[in-house]
Assembly symmetry: C5
Homo-oligomer: 99 residues x 5
Amino acid sequence: MVLARVVGTVVSTSKVPQLQGIRFLLLERLDAATMKGTGDQVVAMDSVGAGPGEVVFYVSGSSSRLTPATEGRPSDATITAIVDEVELNGKAVYRKDAL
Amino acid sequence: MVLARVVGTVVSTSKVPQLQGIRFLLLERLDAATMKGTGDQVVAMDSVGAGPGEVVFYVSGSSSRLTPATEGRPSDATITAIVDEVELNGKAVYRKDAL
Amino acid sequence: MVLARVVGTVVSTSKVPQLQGIRFLLLERLDAATMKGTGDQVVAMDSVGAGPGEVVFYVSGSSSRLTPATEGRPSDATITAIVDEVELNGKAVYRKDAL
Amino acid sequence: MVLARVVGTVVSTSKVPQLQGIRFLLLERLDAATMKGTGDQVVAMDSVGAGPGEVVFYVSGSSSRLTPATEGRPSDATITAIVDEVELNGKAVYRKDAL
Amino acid sequence: MVLARVVGTVVSTSKVPQLQGIRFLLLERLDAATMKGTGDQVVAMDSVGAGPGEVVFYVSGSSSRLTPATEGRPSDATITAIVDEVELNGKAVYRKDAL
């Protein structure tokens, strides 16, 4: 899985039927050492109700279909968790409630 | 999924039988911060009737076979949506009707 | 799928049984803007009878097993089409018969 | 599989149900020539009880669901081994008990 | 598949049960133009009895489980062939018996 921040949304009306009702969030990968974005972006299906600015992790590949919201849908990236805390080398480098 | 622009087409007559009747579009990945191409290209199967210059997103991996147009076909990249709007950090950085 | 040129061959006698009878071609990825190689190489199974110097595209991942020649074989890259023409931004940047 | 060091942990309470009870470790890839981190990070499910600072390898893709701890769970990276020794070009470049 | 050289071994005693009895080799990717390593490393399961210094190719993804030695095991990289010869642009750039 990969740490990322929700930086935006993507809206589409012309899409394959299996994408109906799905929220598409734009994510930017994070470097845990700085908790800053790396510039790498991905469009992910949301399965946890993540909101703008939140730190999440997403899963890639066939596992991105293994959530209640994405089963049977053509996803290659699904947010599976909103992150509460990241600890790096024994230090908390991110705490959600400290935002 | 990955944001990309339709920049061209690829035509082939000598191909495996499962590719008959499929349109192959050449895509260039987009950086949402600028909505400009990154230079990275992929050949994708089209499942939504995307046209030249349109902003789309495509799905990779086994999910690229999970659309009505690509089921059972050897795809690793399928366009699943034509993008109407991209919002980044609270601002609309792309609107289809504004083109 | 990815545009590439056939730049060589790879021969092996000590291999797993499922690779018997398969031709392995060495491919170099192409940048469609110049139709020159990017230096990135991959060894692909051939399912279309591609020859040296030809422009092809190959499929990666589990879809590389979805061709008559590669079904059930441990492939992660299979050539599925010999390319006749590539059009980029409205111009033909490659035509097979123009070689 | 990829050599990596356990550099941290990731905690989440808002997550998809299949992630309940899983430990998420933050890994940094290692260059075996120096056994130093490359800066590339991944969040992995732990299936072997790895601890901070340990050298492990993890598996990606659908195989990351093929362990007793991760079966049926949406993982794309699972630690499957704690590494005892790495030999490179005939020399031991890492020994766990030598730490 | 990817050309690589066997540059080392990885030993583990604490691992998931499906890894028992598997040899883990450290590979470095090769650039066929020079037959030198690129610095990119991967830990692969061996299914062909490859030895130190040998040139091989390995398969990634779900196909890495499609060999007699790796069936049902959590692999994402398996050596499936020891390479005898690599021809690039009409010239033999590597011959095993010429070593």
